[in-house]
Amino acid sequence: MIVRPTTSRLLRDVRHELVETIVPEVTSATAQVALEQIDIILEQCAVRADNEIEWMAEEVAEIDGFVGRVVDATHDEPTTAALQAARHEASGSLALESMCDDYNRMSEALSCAIEACMGDPERAALLAEAIGILQARRSDREVDVRANWRLVGRG
């Protein structure tokens, strides 16, 4: 397959065409708002196209290691079961849909680990580590994906 220009390059070119050629011709206020929103979504798609498979793979590996240590420390049954399911059912495929399924199953294991650690002072360090994963692996990357997002057309 022809891989370059990359998906993100193509999407950003469409954005450029929209902003430079289409938008100046549009006079309807509602259509202008819709075009501004489309521009935002195209940029979000470009960021995801460049990164999402790599980011999910990294996070799956990190959660696997962390939740394994929670299971060793707590023997919490839901966490153990969720981790076993995530490992047993992992496809190992880089196809996007398969990767989403693997990511979801490992995310469930992280949720169970957080619930197992909440409110127990002896597990405070593990909880802090889980929050660190939520922040660095999930929230910070969602900020990157959000790109130029803003609430267009309000008020």
Binding site: T30, I41, G119, I131, R138, S139, W149, L151
Partner: protein, 343 residues
Amino acid sequence: MPERVAAFLGLHRDDIDEIEVVAYEPMAGGYSRSMASARIRYRSGEVTLEETVVLRGDPPPGHAMIETDRDHEWMVLEALTQLSAIPIPPARHYDSTGEHLGTKAIVMDHVAGGSLQSLLDDVDDYGDHPTRLARLWGTVHGITPDQLPAAMPHPGSWDERIDGLIEMWHIVEQRSVNSDPVSRYIAAWLAANKPPPLPLRLTHGDPQAPNVMIDPDGEYLLVDWEFASIGDPREDLGWYNIYSSAAGPNLYTLDPEPFLAAYREATGFGEAEVNQWTVGYFTILAGIKIGATISEQLDRFAMGENSGVMTAMQLGSLSYGHEQNLAAIAGLQAALDAQGAMS
């Protein structure tokens, strides 16, 4: 559509010889509903009058960013009109079946002055708007459950209401196509750190500056009652805070203490219940009420059952919520830890 509007208005005005819609224009800015303004000309004998009304209806099936119940909104508007305790633009008529206007739709008075959001966007000095807004929310929270229609859900207790909202974080996550450890962490933290209770009151559900209109006399009028419910009044303070942090200015965080003092004065609530920590807690908790409908629509979008650029835009809203809630919990937990270390 103009002909339909004229015919529908005619059903309610047997004193008019002729009703004509002389201008009809969709309105930008209605995120949850389809909105339009219509300029109406009434002719009776030799007298001709004109006015503008607003139509607020459901979008076409499969294109809603948020599904809400127009019957519920009309019921709340009717009750508030009778109470006359909260300033709202008069709601005129309701096509409860969509047989006249093509979709369930409410016809309301048009407010000529624009929204508080538009005003704040154009000025640098917000004057007394922060405390006025705090008092407006306080006015809403003066309405007690016994003043509201029996058909509205009445929670049995404060704990039932709060536990129900916390449970919503779980339910939404479990139903979603996305497994979300951030939501599960939020739910677990909320359950472990409940604040002191307040009496249940009417809550607007979506208090934000774009939903405050300013009439030509400069008075506030509160619109968009589709999310109104009976709950903890601080749910509204929390929702105002999270929404206005995303689309400012945030008149609460600008200077929280005068805002809260004005609110406490309007409601009679105490400082133990209404303070920056409890507003922070409800900023997190209340997000699920609208977050749930957004998440549901995005799930339907993912499964090919819904579409629309407005819905796709809400991916940003959810991720913004993640970011804000994680930061808020970190701050609130630090305050609790500091309090614990001192005691």
